[in-house]
C-alpha cells in the first residue's frame, strides 16, 4: 500500500515537472480523410508540428464527411467544438450561415499572417469566399477528369477519347460493339457532381437563378430547362444499350475501371493515388468532354473540402490555428500535398512551382485538373454553386435520376420533379436564414 502511494506521488511529481516544459498550445483538427489520404494528412500535420515549437495540431479522423459534420454539430451544441474542422464543398452554405464559424481570412489577417488570397486559383477562391473574403481555407480541392483505358482505345483504332460528347458516344459504342470491353463507361457514384453540375459549368449552362445562388438565397434550380435534360437522357440510353454500367452497392465504380472491365470512367483527380496503386491496366486521363456546339468549354468547378475555424476558443488557440493555416497555404506545402494525393494545388504560385520542378513531365495526368479548373474566365455559370441544403437537394435529384434510369419516368419529367423538390428544399433554407444575406454578392 505504502509503496503504491509513493509510486503515485512520484508519478504526479514527474507530471508536474513535465508540465511547464510542455508550453505548446494544442489545437484539434477534425477531418474526414481515411486510408492513404489519412496517412498523408497525418504526415502534413507532423511536418507542421516539427517546423516550430509553439503549437501542436492534433489531427483526429472522425469518419466520413457526414460523420465529421455531425460530430462537429454535436460538439458545438455541447460547447466543446474543435478549433478546426474539414467540411465538404456541399456544406458551404450551412457552415457559412451557421453563426458557429470564424471566417479564415479575418482570422489570419488579424493574427498578422500575410497569405496572398488573390493568388488562389479562381474557381477555388470563388467557391470558398463570401463577399470577397475567404471564409474557409481551401484544403483538398479536386475536380472530375476523364479516365480511360489506353489499350481499349487503341484496339478500336482511336488515339484517345474524343473531346465532345457526340464523338465520344460513337467511340464508346464502337468499343462495345467490337467486343473490346464489356462496357464503355461506368456510372460514377457522384455522377450528380461530375456529370450534371460540372457538366453545366463546362457547357455554360445555368444550374440555378441568381447566378447559381451567388446573388442571394432566393435562387431556384433551372436545370430542367437546360442541356442537363438531354445529358441524363443520354446516360439512360447508354445504360439501356449496355454501354454504361452501374457498379452498385458493395462494389466501387472505380474497380470496374481499374480491372479493365469498363473502358472509361469520370472521376475526381484525387483518385490518382488509388488508380496508380490498383490499376492493372494501361490507363491515362484527359479533360471532361463538352457539347459539340459549345466552344470553347468553360472551366470545371471544384469538389473536396476546406478547413473551417470554429467559434468559441481562446486567442492563444487562434494563434495556433492561424499559424497552421498559413503553413497550409505555403506553396511548398501545397506542392507536397498535390504530389502526395492528387488534389490540385490551390494557388497559382504552387502550380508554377510544381511546373518549374518538372513534376508534370513524369505525371502528365496530374496537370489536367489544374488546367481544366483554370481555363478561361469563370462566368456566373461556372463560378461554382451557392445552394443551401445542397446535400438534400442533391439526394432528391439523385432519386429522380434513378427513377428515370428505372424507366419510371421520362427524362424531362424526372428533371422537372427534381427541380420542384429541390426548390422546396431551397425555400426551407431561405426561410430559416431569412435576412442573412441582404446584399447581392459579387466578386
Amino acid at each position: 500500500m505504502g509503496r503504491k502511494v509513493a509510486f503515485i506521488a512520484a508519478l504526479f511529481g514527474a507530471l508536474a515537472l513535465v508540465g511547464p516544459a510542455q508550453a505548446r498550445v494544442e489545437v484539434q483538427w477534425w477531418h474526414a480523410m481515411s486510408g492513404v489520404l489519412g496517412d498523408r494528412l497525418n504526415e502534413l500535420v507532423e511536418k507542421f508540428n516539427k517546423s516550430q515549437d509553439k503549437y501542436t495540431v492534433v489531427a483526429v479522423a472522425k469518419g466520413n464527411y457526414d460523420e465529421v459534420t455531425n460530430g462537429v454539430i454535436a460538439a458545438y451544441r455541447a460547447k466543446r467544438p474543435p478549433e478546426m474542422v474539414q467540411i465538404a464543398e456541399r456544406g458551404y452554405m450551412t457552415m457559412l450561415l451557421s453563426g458557429a464559424i470564424v471566417p479564415v481570412q479575418d482570422l489570419v489577417e488579424q493574427k498578422g499572417y500575410k497569405i496572398d488570397f488573390s493568388d488562389f486559383i479562381k474557381p477555388v477562391a470563388s467557391f470558398w469566399s463570401y463577399k470577397g473574403q475567404m471564409s474557409a481555407m481551401p484544403f483538398n480541392s479536386s475536380t472530375p477528369i476523364f479516365w480511360y483505358n489506353k489499350d481499349h482505345f487503341q484496339k478500336a483504332g482511336f488515339d484517345k477519347p474524343a473531346e465532345t460528347w457526340q464523338e465520344l458516344e460513337k467511340q464508346l459504342y464502337a468499343i462495345k460493339s467490337r467486343g473490346i470491353s464489356e462496357c464503355g463507361t461506368v456510372l460514377p457514384g457522384d455522377f450528380y457532381w461530375s456529370l450534371l453540375e460540372n457538366y453545366s459549368a463546362i457547357n455554360n449552362q445555368p444550374y440555378g437563378t441568381l447566378a447559381n445562388g451567388f446573388d442571394g438565397l432566393g435562387t431556384e434550380f433551372v436545370y430542367n430547362k437546360t442541356k442537363v435534360v438531354s445529358q441524363v437522357a443520354r446516360l439512360k440510353k447508354w445504360l439501356d444499350d449496355g454501354v454504361m454500367q452501374i457498379a452498385g452497392q458493395g462494389f466501387s465504380p472505380e474497380q470496374l475501371f481499374t480491372s479493365g472491365r469498363c473502358s472509361t470512367f469520370v472521376n475526381s483527380t484525387a483518385s490518382h493515388g488509388n488508380i496508380e496503386r490498383n490499376a492493372t491496366i494501361n490507363w491515362s486521363a484527359t479533360f471532361l468532354p463538352h457539347e459539340s456546339d459549345i466552344n470553347p468549354p468553360l472551366n470545371s468547378t471544384i469538389g473536396g473540402g476546406a478547413i473551417w475555424v470554429m467559434k468559441g476558443h481562446t486567442p492563444e488557440r487562434y494563434e495556433a490555428v492561424a499559424a497552421f493555416l498559413d503553413f497550409v497555404a505555403q506553396p511548398e506545402t501545397q506542392v507536397w500535398w498535390h504530389g502526395a494525393t492528387g488534389y490540385v494545388p490551390a494557388t497559382n504560385r504552387a502550380y508554377a512551382l510544381a511546373r518549374e520542378r518538372g513534376y508534370y513531365k513524369d505525371h502528365p495526368t496530374r496537370e489536367i485538373a489544374v488546367l481544366q479548373l483554370s481555363r478561361g474566365t469563370p462566368n456566373e455559370n461556372s463560378r461554382g454553386f451557392r445552394f443551401g441544403n445542397f446535400v438534400q437537394t442533391m439526394l432528391a435529384q439523385r432519386q429522380e435520376v434513378e427513377a428515370m434510369f428505372a424507366g419510371q419516368k421520362p427524362p424531362q419529367q424526372a428533371m422537372d420533379d427534381a427541380v420542384k423538390r429541390g426548390n422546396e428544399i431551397l425555400r426551407q433554407f431561405e426561410k430559416l436564414n431569412a435576412g442573412k444575406t441582404p446584399e447581392a454578392e459579387r466578386p
Binding site: L97, I246, Q249, Q399, L432
Partner: protein, 345 residues
C-alpha cells in the same frame, strides 16, 4: 440540459419512491414495466401474485432498488430523447442550433404532403409484411423439420442459428455482393436463367433483395422460439394423434401449430419491431435506400434526413410519427389478437 435532468433523477431515488408506495400501492411499477411483464402478469392467477410479493420481504424498497437501473436506462435513453424529439419536431432549426424558429406543425404538414414520405410508408409496409411472412414461414418449416430429425439435431440447430451471430452490416454486404449484377455469383445464376436481375437499377429487385437479406438475418431468432415452443407440446397428445393415424404434417398443423399460438403472436410483434427499427444496417449496406427510394424505409429516412441532410425538424417529426405508429401497432395487436391466442400452454 443538466437542470432538466436533475428533477426526474431526484424523483427516481429510492426514498422518495418508498414514500409514494406506502399510499399508492404498486401502481408505479407496472406502469413503467414493459409489455412482456404485463403478459406474464396476466398469465398468473391473482392469489399467486400475492405470494410472489410476499417473497420480496418488507415493503417495496428492494423491488424499487432492483428496478432502478432499468428505470434509469429508460429515463436517459428513452424518455429524455423522446422528449427532445418531440420538441425538435415543432422547430425549424439549423443544425448548429444557432437559429431556431417555432413552426407549430409545419414539419408534419410538409412531411405528410410529400410524395417521398408516402412512398416510404408504402415501402415500409410491404417490406415488413413480406419480411414477416418469409421469416415466420421459413422458421416454422425449419423448426418442424429439425424437430423430426433424430441424428445430429444439435448440429443442424447450430448451423441454423449461425446467421444471428453475424453483424447486420456484414450480412448486408454479403447479400449485396452475392446478388451484385456485375460480379455476384447468384446474380449470374439468375442471369443464366434469363432473369434480368439488377437491384441497382430495378426498384422491385432492390426491395426483394433487402427483404431476403433482412429475413435471412432474422429467421434464427424466430426459429429458437419455435423450437422451444415445439418442445412444450405434450408428447402424449402427439402420440395419441399418431395412434389415431394422423401423419406428421397433420399432427404439426392440427396440434403443434395451434399450441404455438402465443409464440407466433409474440414473434409477429417482434418481427414488426425488427422490420421497423433494426433493419437499418442492412438497408445501409445493401441499397442505401435506393434506387429511386425503393428501399427507403421509414427508419432509414429518419437517418438520412437527420444525419445526412441535417434537416433535424423533419427527422424529429418522422421519428415521432414512427414511434406513435409502432406504439399503435403493438397496442392493436395486443388488444385484438391477445384474446384469440391461447396462453394456456
Amino acid at each position: 440540459m443538466t437542470l432538466r435532468l436533475s428533477v426526474p433523477w431526484r424523483e427516481a431515488r429510492a426514498p422518495v419512491l418508498q414514500r409514494r408506495h406506502g399510499g399508492g400501492g404498486s401502481k408505479a411499477v407496472p406502469a413503467a414495466a414493459t409489455g412482456t411483464s404485463r403478459r406474464s402478469g396476466r398469465a398468473r392467477p391473482r392469489e399467486e401474485a400475492g405470494l410472489k410479493r410476499a417473497n420480496f420481504g418488507e415493503g417495496p424498497g428492494l423491488p424499487t432498488l432492483l428496478l432502478l437501473p432499468q428505470l434509469l436506462i429508460l429515463l436517459f435513453f428513452f424518455f429524455i430523447p423522446s422528449l427532445r424529439a418531440l420538441m425538435q419536431s415543432v422547430l425549424l432549426s439549423d443544425p448548429f442550433g444557432t437559429n431556431v424558429q417555432f413552426v407549430w406543425f409545419d414539419n408534419f404538414r410538409t412531411l405528410l404532403a410529400s410524395s417521398d414520405y408516402r412512398q416510404s410508408i408504402a415501402v415500409t409496409f410491404w417490406f415488413t409484411v413480406a419480411q414477416n411472412v418469409l421469416t415466420l414461414g421459413s422458421a416454422l418449416v425449419l423448426a418442424f423439420a429439425s424437430d423430426r430429425i433424430v441424428r445430429g439435431r444439435s448440429a443442424y440447430r447450430t448451423i441454423i442459428l449461425l446467421p444471428y451471430a453475424i453483424a447486420p452490416a456484414i450480412a448486408g454486404i454479403l447479400w449485396a455482393f452475392l446478388f451484385n449484377p456485375a460480379v455476384g455469383p447468384l446474380a449470374q445464376v439468375l442471369h443464366g436463367l434469363g432473369i434480368a436481375w439488377d437491384p441497382n437499377l430495378n426498384p422491385t429487385d432492390a426491395l426483394i433483395l433487402v427483404t431476403l437479406a433482412a429475413s435471412w438475418k432474422h429467421i434464427c431468432y424466430d426459429y429458437i422460439f419455435l423450437v422451444v415452443g415445439l418442445l412444450a407440446v405434450p408428447v402424449s397428445l402427439m402420440e395419441a394423434a399418431a395412434v389415431d393415424g394422423a401423419g406428421p404434417i397433420r399432427r404439426f398443423v392440427s396440434i403443434a401449430l395451434p399450441m404455438l399460438g402465443p409464440t407466433i403472436f409474440f414473434l409477429t410483434v417482434m418481427n414488426f419491431i425488427y422490420g421497423f427499427f433494426e433493419t437499418f444496417a442492412i438497408i445501409d449496406a445493401v441499397t442505401k435506400g435506393g434506387p429511386a427510394g425503393a428501399t427507403n424505409i421509414l427508419v432509414y429516412k429518419v437517418f438520412v434526413d437527420g444525419f445526412v441532410n441535417l434537416d433535424l425538424g423533419s427527422s424529429a417529426a418522422q421519428s415521432v410519427l414512427l414511434m406513435s405508429f409502432a406504439l399503435i401497432c403493438t397496442l392493436l395487436q395486443f388488444r385484438y389478437f391477445d384474446r384469440k391466442v391461447n396462453y394456456g400452454v
